[in-house]
């Protein structure tokens, strides 16, 4: 393990304040201004990682919050990678692959898409805002668009604030519905013919 001690719990809980008191919204916004989210980006080797390379070659500037991990295909995306990243303190996870129909591995990005939707239900069921994970399609030629996607995503995560799992944890219909959706989608994914 790299981290040599446990992180200290944070004192500010902007979202909790947000719910109860309008006056403290300012406090929240100020704290969010300082908030630099940590985001993990999983990008496929053939399209999105190269799009990021292209953004670099073209010297397009974007926020430094996304730390890119290369996988061969967006189809390699194990939902466990996302939950692991969130558990380790990532405030958001960005997934990016080739455009539908343009996958280097023919159609594996569709499988990523399938998992992505399932994962979103799962996150909701766990009480995590599902906007913290987003899937993008960016081809190797779309450096500018990838930079744009990163900029937008970082901005949206900043608005969401830090991932505060415990605050969001409450029994609600939303969570129940999400759970049902998982079961339904899972049935489909388990089909073997």
């Amino acid at each position: 393990m790299l981290r040599k001690s446990l992180p200290s719990p944070s004192r500010l809980r902007p979202e909790a304040i947000h719910k109860t008191n309008n006056n403290t919204e300012k406090v929240l916004r100020m704290s969010n201004e300082n908030f630099e989210p940590k985001i993990v980006g999983f990008m496929c080797n053939w399209c999105s990682y190269r799009a990021a390379d292209l953004a670099g070659s073209a010297r397009i500037k974007y926020p430094p919050n996304v730390r890119i991990i290369r996988v061969m295909c967006s189809g390699r995306m194990d939902p466990a990678f996302v939950t692991k990243a969130l558990a380790l303190g990532a405030d958001g996870v960005m997934l990016a692959g080739c455009h539908p129909g343009e996958c280097h591995y023919i159609d594996q990005n569709y499988k990523a898409m399938r998992r992505y939707h399932m994962l979103k239900h799962m996150l909701k069921a766990l009480g995590i805002e599902d906007e913290r994970v987003r899937l993008f399609w960016r081809s190797a030629a779309e450096g500018e668009q990838l930079a744009e996607a990163i900029t937008d995503f970082v901005g949206d995560i900043k608005k969401l604030g830090p991932l505060k799992w415990d605050d969001n944890w409450e029994e609600s219909d939303e969570r129940l519905k999400a759970l049902e959706a998982i079961v339904k989608e899972h049935e489909e994914a388990m089909e073997v013919n």
Partner: protein, 678 residues
């Protein structure tokens, strides 16, 4: 035993060092990341001195893992893998961190850049500890090559390879090779006769001992991978036995059924139901167009069979599937013309004397339907004035964003031919005049001198609604002359629309068969737009000519030759390396659920019914890892991208993250790790 990791951070001159404090990153890595025993920064890691430094450290410091933070792995991963290999370390025990394209070039702020660089280095250093030595495999390269598309690009590539002594299968879907170039009259800017320079290449390809010509055939299926593709080709039934046909042409002459030729004559001329597209066709064997043949439609006629001196007509012929094995594939499938009816304001299909560029090519051609006479649709009147409209369907956000690259020059060529053959005035309505190749600008100057009129402005409308007696019975071209700054109405007899060059409609399907991708517009994607224009992301599949983007004949020929050179290199080398990045299944732990079976697009997972387990056929696996992520039991391992490696990398890149909302206050806190509690 703990691993001994070496971390090397490259300055790349000031490319990385400009926005990343590389010394600090190296110092930090050495002090804070577990198992890092060497951490250095250096001006240019990829230089021979930089590589020598790594090699020396591997030997002296007994490094078991190496991390280099420099440019994108797509550039120098191979370089450093080789360095590791030279020092006796398995090349797959190395990982590259992308500090240039993903950090220094996209960050403004040095502090943020340095922090991001630290995170990425930490990710690599954590990951590399779990990497395993892998051995690439080698496969023999089959000397034969498949070329799809028999236009000028495919012909050039085929002849280059065949002349070098390698067998070539040239597949063309129309009855003859030649492609669009066979339809043209003259080629710009030299004005050589298109047929005169093309037909020698066509007949050479037809007669070459190393070229197997498969015309009227289409690619059905491709399996296998670089070095050894198995290809199924559908040879469509011609209803003419090739080995018996002498190409005498009597059947075509006697055939009673006349059909409008929509392909070769662009709808301006006729052909018979049994036909060869043009007199110089290669091969000279006709085909029967079943949809228009009287015998096939009504069961009576058989004139061709009666007149054939060698009894070569066979009405019972069936499509044939030919299977061949090749080492490499070149796609040279060309382009199609934009449907100019999609721009209704220009009146094509509604106003008789509006022509497309392809129709006009046939009109100019001495072998065309009018014998080379430029006339109106009535077939006899010579136009007194002609307007040529550029950029119809190209450089237009409603249709194609791209520039079709050849239309300006083709329009100038048309202008020259009209001025040469008729007394007409010629007006060119252009947006920008693009004449940027050898001798092109000179040709433009020549046309200016010859008296062609140029109006800079996109045409709003072509109409036959006259506003004054001068316009009566004419086509009026309405455009803003942006150089004069006013509207102009130019009455003309004939309008030629320079339709865009578009990707073939089925380019995507063919690309999928061969495992390569297209851009959104439908052009094939090359490996690198500048440095690797004919290779693709799939090893052993190359692209050339207009299927990769609009270009003129010289560029097509150059790309055809370039693709052939690349293939020759592969054949001469004889062997090709296959990355060992494949999946494998722990059969002892596999439950035989078969979820992975249907996920593999390459059918690389087979099910052993006896043992009730699934198994990966590693020679067919391309290493995407989809099955690895899907296995509910987690018993599929993706080499070089296994779960442990990726989990460790996640831990690494998040070394400074604080779970449960801790990142909110991170800006004020120090990014140095907190002291270890005793």
């Amino acid at each position: 035993m703990a691993e001994r990791v070496g971390v090397y951070v490259c300055h790349c001159g000031s490319n990385i060092a400009g926005t990343v404090d590389v010394e600090e990153v190296a110092r930090w890595a050495g002090e804070n990341i577990k198992d890092v025993v060497v951490a250095k920064d250096y001006k240019f890691m990829c230089s021979s001195l930089g590589q020598a430094m790594i090699e020396e450290d591997i030997k002296k410091e007994k490094l078991t893992r190496v991390v280099v933070g420099a440019c994108s792995p797509h550039l120098h991963e191979k370089t450093f893998r080789t360095a590791c290999k030279n020092a006796g370390l398995n090349p797959y025990l190395f990982d590259m961190t992308n500090l240039r394209e993903h950090v220094s070039w996209v960050c403004n702020d040095k502090e943020a850049g340095t922090a991001k660089a630290k995170a990425l280095i930490a990710g690599s250093a954590e990951r590399v500890k779990f990497q395993q030595p892998l051995e690439p495999s080698y496969v023999d390269v089959h000397p034969a090559t498949l070329i799809v598309g028999g236009g000028i690009t495919g012909l050039q590539a085929a002849l280059e390879l065949a002349d070098a002594g390698h067998p070539v299968y040239l597949v063309e879907r129309s009855p003859s090779v030649g492609g669009h170039m066979a339809q043209f009259d003259k080629t710009f800017p030299t004005l050589d006769c298109s047929a005169c320079i093309l037909t020698p290449k066509m007949s050479e390809a037809g007669q070459h001992e190393n070229i197997t010509l498969l015309t009227y055939s289409e690619l059905e299926e491709v399996s296998g991978s670089v070095g050894k593709f198995k290809v199924k080709i559908r040879k469509k039934a011609r209803y003419v036995v090739e080995k018996d046909c002498t190409g005498c042409g009597i059947c075509t002459e006697k055939c009673p059924r006349k059909v409008v030729d929509e392909d070769f004559e662009a709808g301006l001329g006729y052909r018979k139901a049994i036909y060869s597209p043009f007199p110089q066709a290669v091969p000279r064997i006709p085909v029967i167009d079943v949809e228009n043949c009287t015998y096939f439609q009504r069961g009576k006629c058989k004139v061709c069979s009666k007149v054939c001196p060698t009894n070569a007509i066979d009405y019972e012929q069936q499509d044939e599937i030919i299977e061949v094995e090749v080492g490499n594939i070149i796609l040279a499938t060309g382009w199609k013309l934009f449907d100019t009816k999609k721009v209704p304001q220009y009146g094509y299909g509604r106003l008789a004397n509006v022509y497309t560029n392809m129709e006009f090519e046939r009109l100019c051609n001495a072998a065309g339907p009018t014998g080379g006479k430029i006339v109106l649709r009535d077939g006899k009147t010579e136009p007194k004035s002609v307007a040529i409209i550029h950029c119809v369907g190209s450089r237009d956000v409603n249709h194609n964003a791209h520039c079709s690259a050849v239309c300006c020059m083709a329009a100038l060529k048309f202008g020259h031919l009209i001025l040469e053959k008729t007394d007409a005035e010629v007006y060119s309505f252009y947006i920008d005049m693009r004449t940027n190749q050898k001798a092109y600008e000179e040709f433009y100057q020549r046309l200016l001198e010859e008296g062609m009129h140029f109006v800079r402005g996109k045409v709003a409308e072509v109409t036959d609604a006259a506003r004054n007696p001068d316009e009566q019975g004419k086509l009026i071209v309405q455009a803003e002359d942006t150089l004069l700054g006013k509207q102009r109405r130019v009455p003309v007899d004939m309008v030629v629309l320079m339709g865009a060059i578009e990707p073939q409609e089925d380019a995507k399907d063919l690309g999928l068969k061969c495992g390569i991708s297209c851009s959104m517009a439908g052009w094939y994607t090359e490996r690198h737009p500048k440095l690797d224009p004919v290779a693709t992301m799939t090893d052993g599949v190359f692209v050339a000519g207009t299927c990769q983007g609009a270009k003129d004949i010289p560029a097509c020929v150059a790309q055809g030759a370039a693709a052939a050179a690349r293939v020759q290199g592969m054949i001469t080398k004889g062997k090709v390396m296959i990355e060992p990045i494949v999946a494998s299944i722990n059969e002892d732990a596999c439950s035989g659920c078969r979820i992975c079976n249907n996920l593999c697009p390459y059918n690389a997972i087979e099910y052993d019914a006896e043992k009730e387990v699934s198994r990966v056929i590693s020679s067919m696996c391309k290493g995407c890892g989809t099955c690895v992520a899907a296995c509910p039991a987690g018993v599929i391992t993706g080499a070089h991208f296994n779960n442990q490696q990726i989990f460790s990398q996640i831990e690494g890149v998040l070394w400074d993250a604080k779970p449960a909302g801790g990142n909110g206050g991170a800006a004020e806190e120090s990014s140095e790790p907190e002291p270890v509690a005793s």
